[in-house]
Subunit: 502 residues, 2 copies
């Protein structure tokens, strides 16, 4: 599709210049499909004529224009999609609220690499400064987060945690909606319309499905996300992070009791309270994913991530465990880590506290049996042991999974198929993939953690020097955005050595 | 040398049993040398008949028995050597005082893996509980730290930071001396006698020198340690950690000014104040090591390690920089890292703040020229760029070193030989050793950091699960004590690929 500039001079047509025409995602799709209809190009050519990044705009919710909208300001449409959430002014606060399952909009004058964790945690990003290629805009598009950038109509006051528009004052915690497709900033929560895959877009996706070799699964740990993903064509769940199920308000107290209890008995009691919740989550997800594979990762983050952070939370958990606040505080201090990324997490928790992984396996297998009893076509459960670095870890953890599976199958006089595998996310795991594969029935690759350990760079802290590294051309691109060559060597080594074993 | 049990019955000699005779290190040495003299064994056999671990006892200072000693209690002679220092009751306090160059004796009821950092920081260790194979005893011997264990004659009160003997009360901060060779605990500082290598011991060491293939250099960053090491036969310095020179009381304020200053101008001023100190340290060390190689590592730890930790220190630095305490506190907060082990450190500092490495190189080259002017036989300087993971980092840092070297050589119209190399201490550096070797003239291996990143285990935090790992036989031995097989694979790969390039 070409833009053509021409003129007519003395009845003669002059073609001055021509170039590829700029077009929206929707037009690009229509033009490509039309040209196939006109037999000008093949279906595969049609696919290649569409920039896949732009299709993003067709996959995000848009505002329900039938609702009444109070637009309070406008900015640049930096990253498509409409989303509502509580206003926060710092990345730490965004992360804190996200951890407690609250939707937030991160509002900053501009963002920097130090805000990455907050941008991850936020559902949408709003800045008062910076264009379509500002840090906020580029990173938000990369993450698929809606973003309105450079809204000079808002004035941010970090100190008082407030932003002002011409007529309104918005405090931290107030709900706003941003529409990254049009640049509108709207007061309150607005209904959004789910994107539909139909017409020409649906055709392009069908043709792509026929040409592609890669299969695609979703990350999901909620029934809601699982349902959307399946509607969008996900071929299973590739990573269901069970810890996200622990943060729910109803459960977090039991989680804290489990962590802070002083005896195995108390811990078991707390775990018993968690079991039905986790089982119920799995039943819902397994129903939605019926017939597809679901990879469930057992508890991964260090326990201190779940701990109470303020006095009233400490009061609650101390009271519930009949402990003094000092005792709770002491335990919190004990769990503090110098380098939590390299700390007591992943399968190291399963080794130290097997009862936690046992409860999780019980929840998975009881959920599988419940689905079977309800005559639902079974999923293929893949139980993932995280952060393995030695053969012994996966062997011991696999024995645990098999033991719990046997207990529950015997009790219910039924058989369940399942796989046990691991995520290769540490250099040593990649180096010893051949030994680990003796016990693992599948490998996933955790490239974020693998990049952190291979480089010895904490993603949380890299903001302090990443700019210097990009300016000095040491990194062409942030290795957390595009996989590094050295990390790639490890992945290749692990894949090929794992396959040699099995 | 055999113990023989015999009896004479009815004028007949009966040999009942015989076994290898237990002997002290000194006797083992004498017996081995005597048997060579009597031509019963070869010199190499003599060496192999001595347990090298026991020789440690001959290499530690012993108490000057001519001094008057007030022995206040006794315990087990768990790890040889005599040492004096301030009493501390926690590993964190031991580390804190050690960071400010104070000698401490760590006093604990017993130690656990969580105390490793404190045992490293302490000059000696005293416990009230545990035998010759207790954690404290085993680890202290491994580290070569004097230790008196299981002294039931002392009663430790952590809360009041005090320990009581029959007649005395010792407070935190009081000075005591422990003698790990005899188990004595003595009030106050006692003169010690340096060990001498002479007689039979000296012979065994001479014979070993002829048989050995490995060369041995020392870790040292002070003239004092360098002198002792050279007297003990060190063939150079393998690691001179320049940051230790920053902690001296006279300098730490300038270091803090350098870190906290807001402009490059202020930073340069602070660095100028540090230059003569660092240069003077190097001159002294280079004189002592005359004729031998000295590997100097440029600044490695994250800057926040140098920051003021209490209010009076903050006051001092704020005043000296005409900043408010809040401004200083804000900068301290900015420098805080989630995972300092994976943070803004090593050559990442050299990339962000080249002026720091420039000052250090100036100090090294000016010291070399000063030594040359004094007609001292030159050392071979090996300048080590720490924490390299990419070819670009070593290339850029090497250019900096060469530029400073050229400036100083031109100014002084003289030539200096030197090498620039790196420490391979990250998995990616090992994987890309061939590329890094294009610019590196030597490799060292930093196995502590390499083990931490290869396993994804922070040594500081591993105490929480290391016992579980040893009980479950996941680790046969702590990988920070004996190099792991997977880490070994990386070292082998790096050594062989580095040599392929050069």
């Amino acid at each position: 599709m070409q833009d053509v500039e021409f003129t007519v001079e003395n009845s003669k047509l002059w073609i001055l210049q021509t170039r590829s025409g700029k077009r929206t995602a929707k037009s690009a799709v229509k033009i490509a499909v039309d040209m196939v209809k006109e037999k000008k190009i093949s279906k595969n050519q049609a696919i290649l004529r569409i920039d896949p990044n732009t299709l993003d705009t067709l996959l995000h919710p848009s505002l329900d224009e039938k609702s009444e909208l109070e637009v309070i300001a406008r900015g640049l449409p930096a990253s498509p999609g409409a989303v509502s959430g509580k206003v926060v002014f710092s990345s730490d606060e965004a992360e804190r609220l996200n951890d407690t399952m609250q939707n937030v909009i991160l509002v900053r004058v501009e963002t920097s690499p130090e805000d990455i964790h907050g941008m991850h945690a936020a559902k949408g990003i709003l800045t008062s400064r910076g264009g379509m290629t500002s840090h906020a805009a580029v990173v938000a598009r990369g993450m698929g987060r809606p973003c309105v950038s450079g809204s000079s109509e808002i004035e941010i006051d970090y100190k008082n945690k407030i932003f002002k528009t011409k007529n309104r004052e918005i405090n931290e915690g107030d709900i706003i909606t941003i529409d990254g497709s049009t640049g509108r900033i709207i007061l309150g929560e607005v209904k959004t319309v789910k994107p539909e895959i139909s017409g020409d877009f649906s055709k392009i996706l069908d043709w792509s499905d026929k040409a592609r070799k890669l299969k695609i699964r979703t990350n999901s740990e909620t029934p809601y996300d699982s349902k959307i993903a399946r509607e969008f064509g996900a071929e299973g769940i590739g990573l269901c992070r069970t810890e996200h199920m622990f943060f729910d308000e109803e459960r977090i107290l039991s989680v804290r009791q489990m962590i802070l209890s002083k005896s195995k008995e108390d811990r078991d009691k707390a775990l018993e309270k968690l079991l039905p919740h986790q089982k119920n989550d799995f039943i819902q997800i397994f129903k939605i994913m019926s017939g597809l594979p679901v990879t469930v990762r057992l508890l991964d983050p260090p326990l201190h991530e779940f701990l109470p952070k303020n006095k009233s939370e400490i009061d609650d958990v101390a009271k519930s465990l009949s402990l003094s606040n000092e005792e709770v505080q002491t335990r919190i201090d004990e769990l503090h880590e110098q380098n939590p990324m390299l700390g007591h997490r992943g399968c190291r928790l399963g080794i130290s506290f097997p009862e936690i992984y046992e409860m999780q396996c019980k929840a998975i297998f009881e959920a599988l049996i419940e689905c079977k009893n309800q005559k639902i076509k079974p999923i293929m459960p893949e139980i993932m042991i995280p952060l393995v670095s030695t053969e012994a870890e996966i062997r011991i953890m696999k024995e645990l999974v098999i033991r719990i599976a046997a207990e529950i199958q015997n009790k219910n006089r039924t058989k369940i198929k399942f796989l046990v595998g691991t995520m290769i996310e540490l250099p040593r795991a990649a180096l010893k993939a051949k030994d680990i594969a003796k016990h693992a029935e599948f490998f996933s690759f955790g490239t974020n953690d693998l990049t952190q350990t291979t480089f010895g760079i904490s993603r949380d802290d890299s903001g302090k020097f990443l700019n210097d590294y990009i300016e000095n051309k040491i990194f062409d691109i942030d290795p957390f955005i595009s996989i590094d060559d050295g990390v790639g060597d490890l992945i290749q080594f692990a894949a090929s050595n794992g396959k040699k074993q099995k």
